[in-house]
């Protein structure tokens, strides 16, 4: 039952990843990407990390996908002119390159040499059980892991504040730097946005509020169909 579910979700995931990479229309590519994120979230649920699945949907679909859509809209060449299509001459070498990478990884997965004492990965056919058995004494990590899987939010909070606090703080610092950097990049060096001169310009400039420089005209004209 779980295997069939995994095969369906994996097939959907691979198909949507291919759709993202091969699609000419960028908005369609973005939608395929959203479906791919959803398939990955389903895989996380299969791996018993549903908190991570919720975070995946929240961050990727709720924020990154919207940001990519805004980016597509503001760099407006979506209906398949030269930049969005893959050049025909590149397709066979690209496919060959992708197959080579996949083959190398697959051979690595299949013939992995394990450190002594551990089973190779290809031999792991089922996950370690963390269901409570009264009969034999379980290793210490099983109890910890069972508690973690049952109440993952709380355990992640504890872990992030005790064992991984440095990584957590550095991630916060990184996010702050990214926030400041993104605002600094998008900010125009000249004055604050001037009021739009006409409805056409207002509609053409969108949320970025381009000042009516020479950049205003092509952006406004690209909106008319």
């Amino acid at each position: 039952m779980a295997s069939i579910l995994f095969l369906v979700i994996a097939a959907i995931g691979l198909a949507t990843a291919l759709g993202t990479v091969l699609s000419r229309n960028l908005v369609r590519a973005g939608l395929y990407l959203v479906a791919f994120f959803f398939a990955i979230a389903c895989l996380f649920v299969l791996l018993e990390a549903e908190f991570l699945a919720a975070i995946q949907v929240l961050v990727y679909i709720g924020a990154v996908a919207i940001l990519l859509m805004f980016g597509i809209m503001l760099t407006r060449d979506t209906l398949g002119d030269d930049t969005t299509a893959i050049p025909v001459g590149w397709m066979i070498p690209g496919l060959f390159g992708g197959l080579c990478v996949f083959t190398v990884l697959a051979v690595g997965i299949n013939n992995s040499i394990a450190p002594s004492g551990w089973t190779p990965w290809s031999g792991t056919t089922s996950r370690p059980s963390i269901i409570k058995q009264e009969s034999d004494p379980e290793p210490a990590w099983v109890a910890e892991r069972r508690e973690a899987v049952n109440d993952m939010g709380r355990v992640i909070g504890v872990e992030l504040m005790t064992r991984y606090v440095v990584a957590f703080e550095l991630a916060g610092l990184l996010l702050t730097a990214a926030l400041v950097g993104a605002i600094a990049l998008a900010h125009r060096a000249d004055s604050a946005p001037k009021p739009p001169r006409s409805v056409e310009q207002a509609a053409g400039s969108g949320p970025g509020a381009d000042p009516p420089s020479e950049a205003g005209e092509p952006v406004a004209s690209s909106l008319s169909p």
Binding site: S3, F51, Y60, V64, T75, T84, W121, A182, L185
Partner: protein, 109 residues
């Protein structure tokens, strides 16, 4: 427990997604499409991490959730990267009028 999903199915899926994403990064010329392919690669790596976390024996002293925490940090970094990447692409678009990575070449030669 007998009809559980073998580990290497997850690993094959992650490897295939990684390869598809890599092909996307190499072949696509639109900068936003390259960002999308990078996101595919990062998600494949995340699946790999969480699969190994669930199926493997933990190292002593690493706690109950090393794989999941690392996956959360990867998601965080990916989100920050997309934000800054979109900012950079917008700047390049303002300068060159297209979002084509082949035209962003004033540092070459």
């Amino acid at each position: 427990m007998n009809n559980d999903i073998p580990l290497n199915w997850f690993l094959y899926f992650a490897a295939a997604s990684f390869a598809i994403g890599l092909v996307g990064v190499m072949l696509r010329r639109n900068a936003i499409a390259v960002l999308m392919a990078i996101e595919i690669i990062l998600n494949a790596a995340n699946v790999n991490l969480v699969a190994f976390w669930r199926y493997g024996t933990p190292a002593p002293g690493s706690g109950p959730l090393p794989g999941v925490i690392l996956a959360i940090l990867v998601i965080t970094v990916a989100a920050a990267e997309v934000a800054v990447g979109i900012g950079l692409i917008l700047l390049c678009y303002r300068r060159w009028r297209v979002a084509d990575v082949d035209r962003y070449d004033t540092m070459s030669g």
